[in-house]
């Protein structure tokens, strides 16, 4: 059997299998639309807040007004007491409450530094952060205004009063993902994992299915085809398909959801090709281990959540136990997500991603050898029977 015949046989085997096609075509396309949906509206904004103004002075009203103008906060209620506000929070009518204490204006005038209380439902981490950010901003601007006013009272000219209210200032710059967009945070990383998992499930169903048929005595083209021909065919078929998927994800989907992409095309594709090759090598190896068609999907599926959380983009890698970190390098997704984020979201040069690139190359070598060994072994065991 020549290589071209093997290639055709393999392609037939893959594309006539509904379970495989459902995953490597249907799944990939479906996920590309579904996954970014929760974050489509981007940042958290307009959260309903209840204000309890126990002071009712011009200063407190000014702060409430400022708070309402911050994009994160939308004041929907004014409660008379802390208790009423808390009840509104429990009935989920509001997501946070802000309390301005009685004698607020007087205490400021007396130089006593009164306290504004902010409470938010921190079960929802982001809500808490968003309300806090909005409250901080409005309180800080009010604070600065008062400080400058105090300095002016002390006969300091406005220009130096403006500068001298604090000895030095902080100039904060958000380097990447400047708008704190959740789409830009989650989607680029999850996309890589989707490409890997669907590819692995496809190869796993294929590999397991072939093993299963062999135990039933169905050899198909495997009697004549050589192991390297079979492996090379799968590299080519899955590689071509997922190269197209990758272009679709990084091109079409990125544009559709307005995700920043800054990598040089050549570097992105170089890195991407190595990533896809590593996943195929891994999938060929895993497929050789599965004894039936149905083992791949559960195994790959169960690994998804642990994999996405051990990469270090949701939870910092410094806080993840070493054992989990090392284990996660079994999967090509770990170095790949890191590398892709650096190249395409953060604009790193290729030197910066060389460590990840090297790990992927190593995985290709290791898994290809393991895959070859196990596929060969499976074939020989059955030929003896």
């Amino acid at each position: 059997m020549n290589f071209f015949e093997v290639l055709v046989q393999e392609a037939k085997l893959i594309f006539t299998d509904v379970a495989i096609v459902l995953t490597i075509v249907g799944g990939v396309v479906f996920y590309s639309f579904l996954y970014p949906q929760p974050y489509e509206k981007e940042s958290v904004s307009g959260l309903s807040v209840s204000v309890v103004d126990l002071d009712k002075s011009d200063v407190s009203r000014d702060i409430i007004y400022k708070l309402n103008t911050t994009p994160q906060v939308d004041i929907t209620r004014q409660d008379m007491s802390e208790r009423d506000a808390k009840e509104a929070l429990e009935a989920t009518l509001v997501k946070a409450i802000v309390i301005i204490p009685a004698h607020f204006k007087r205490d400021i005038a007396l130089g006593k530094s009164p306290t504004i209380a902010v409470g938010a439902d921190s079960s929802y981490f982001l809500i808490y952060g968003a309300v806090l950010e909005g409250a901080m901003k409005s309180v800080l601007t009010a604070s600065v205004k008062l400080k400058v006013a105090n300095l002016l009272k002390a006969n300091i000219p406005l220009s130096s009063a403006k500068d001298a209210y604090t000895p030095y200032a902080i100039n904060a710059i958000n380097l990447f993902n400047k708008n704190n967009s959740y789409t830009e945070y989650v989607v680029p990383a999850v996309f890589i994992l989707i490409l890997q998992q669907t590819l692995l499930i496809g190869l796993g169903i294929l590999g397991g299915g072939v093993n299963e048929r062999r135990t039933r005595g169905e050899y198909l083209h495997f009697k004549e085809a050589k192991t390297y021909q079979v492996m090379l065919s799968r590299y080519l078929i899955f590689g071509t398909l997922f190269f197209v998927h990758m272009l679709f994800y990084f091109g079409f989907s990125y544009e559709l959801f307005g995700i920043v992409h800054v990598a040089k095309m050549s570097e992105l594709l170089t890195f991407g090709t190595v990533f896809i090759t590593a996943v195929i090598a891994f999938g060929l190896f895993l497929g050789a281990l599965f004894s039936s068609r149905e083992i791949a999907t559960p195994v790959i599926l169960f690994s998804s959540l642990p994999l996405v959380f051990s990469v270090g983009f949701i939870w910092p890698i410094e806080a993840i136990p070493d054992l989990v970190r090392y284990l996660s390098y079994i999967s090509p997704s770990t170095p790949a997500i890191k590398g892709f984020l650096e190249l395409n979201q953060m604009g790193a040069d290729f030197n910066a991603v060389l460590p990840s690139y090297t790990i992927l190359l190593t995985q290709i070598v290791v898994y290809t050898i393991l895959g070859y060994y196990f596929i060969n072994k499976n074939r020989k065991t059955n030929e003896q029977i």
Binding site: L34, Y124, Y128, L146, P167, N177, E294, P298, E318
Partner: protein
């Protein structure tokens, strides 16, 4: 009729006893998955996050500020470089999360009161880490500025309260309600463990029915009689197993860590029961689309894998678009999570939960098409 149920139930128990795979699916595999996730996040709070420093002043003022920064538990000055460019490279290569640059003549400008600017550049690609570091750096830098100001004010006023009030005329007190342990660990676990759990329910249901049909033993097993009862009997061992596993994660989240649970466990457990049944119904519904084992697994994977993102725990539902909210409504676990959270945090009474409980119960209606399809298939 009850005999049929009993027969199917006992038959499935025997199957589980004889199959390592089925046994693992309801014992070791989910427990190991829970344990792995718990272990991954057990450090809870992030600390010693690496940052890079560019100190262009190298005065005693800048050294004092850097000393204060390094003293915080959150960040760790891992690199000190001379140029901004080098520092940026370290951030792009994910070696540092932020850079703090102190300008030249920092000390001189402070003394001249021309307010120099300390530049903080953050890797906000990782939103959570960016937020943690931003908060920590702002606090320490502002406090260090306050120290200088305080001394200055103290010299003038000789009164410490007034000196503080001059630095910040208004202070802000923040209280996280409900989830008083502002610990990201339990917060994540309370949603992650149920997300893993629902994957297992669907997969196990599909394995149980898939293996039967794949082995072509369905005619023998159902025998054309009491099909509904036999389906229920076959599901029952897994209903029990996943209730126990559900109680296990519930116990872990609220029992062992002293996380306050305000509401009624009875309501949550009832909701959990409805959730298990809902997922079994959904799984069988996916199965009857073709009675094909491998294909139904692919559908189950597509359905269960993205659930976590739609729970509204990491990203609030109030900010989701309608497509996301629609998909979310199709996931029993999303309704269950609402009940778990509202019970744990607010302890609302069962009447307020009734609409959520009804929604969960409504998923069982899927058994109607499931029974019809099974009848059609088996009487052919």
């Amino acid at each position: 009729m009850l005999n049929a149920l009993n027969f199917a139930f006992l038959n499935e128990l025997r199957e589980i006893k004889n199959s390592w795979y089925k046994l693992f699916l309801i014992t070791l595999l989910p427990i190991f998955s829970f344990a792995f996730l718990i272990f991954t996040f057990h450090n809870g709070v992030a600390y010693k996050l690496p940052i890079v420093i560019v100190d262009k002043d190298k005065s005693d003022f800048s050294k004092k500020l850097l000393f204060n920064i390094d003293a915080t538990a959150t960040v760790d000055i891992k690199y000190r470089v001379d140029s901004t460019k080098e520092a940026l490279w370290l951030i792009k290569a994910s070696k540092a999360y932020a850079l703090v640059e102190i300008p030249s003549d920092f000390k001189r400008d402070i003394l001249l009161q021309t307010q120099p600017k300390v530049t903080v550049m953050l890797n906000t690609q990782y939103i959570l880490v960016g937020k943690i570091i931003k908060g920590a750096l702002f606090e320490v830098i502002a406090n260090s500025a306050g120290e200088i100001e305080y001394v200055k004010n103290l010299v003038k006023t000789q009164n410490s309260t007034e000196s503080i009030a001059k630095i910040s005329p208004i202070s802000l007190q923040t209280t996280p309600f409900f989830n008083t342990y502002k610990n990201y660990f339990l917060f994540l676990m309370s949603a992650l463990l149920p997300s893993v759990w629902q994957i297992f329910i669907v997969i196990t249901t599909l394995v149980s029915f898939g293996t039967l049909f794949k082995a072509k033993k369905e005619k023998e097993f159902f025998g054309g009689e009491y099909i509904k009862m036999k389906i229920i009997g076959k599901l029952l061992p897994y209903t029990v197993a996943y209730m126990l596993l559900g109680l296990l994660f519930l116990f872990f989240i609220y029992g062992t860590k002293g996380w306050i649970f305000e509401g009624s466990f009875a309501v949550v457990i009832f909701a959990m029961f409805l959730t298990v049944i809902a997922y079994q119904a959904v799984a069988l519904f996916l199965f009857v689309t073709g009675f094909d084992y491998a294909r139904s697994l692919s559908l189950g994977a597509v359905y269960t894998a993205p659930a976590f993102a739609f729970l509204g725990v990491t990203f609030p539902t109030s900010s989701m678009n309608n497509i996301a909210l629609f998909w979310r409504d199709l996931l029993p676990i999303a309704h269950y999570m609402e009940i778990q959270i509202s019970q744990a945090n607010y302890g609302v009474d069962i009447f307020m939960e009734s609409s959520r409980l009804l929604t969960l119960a409504a998923f069982s209606l899927l058994f109607i098409p499931v029974f019809i399809m099974f009848h059609k298939r088996l009487q052919k």
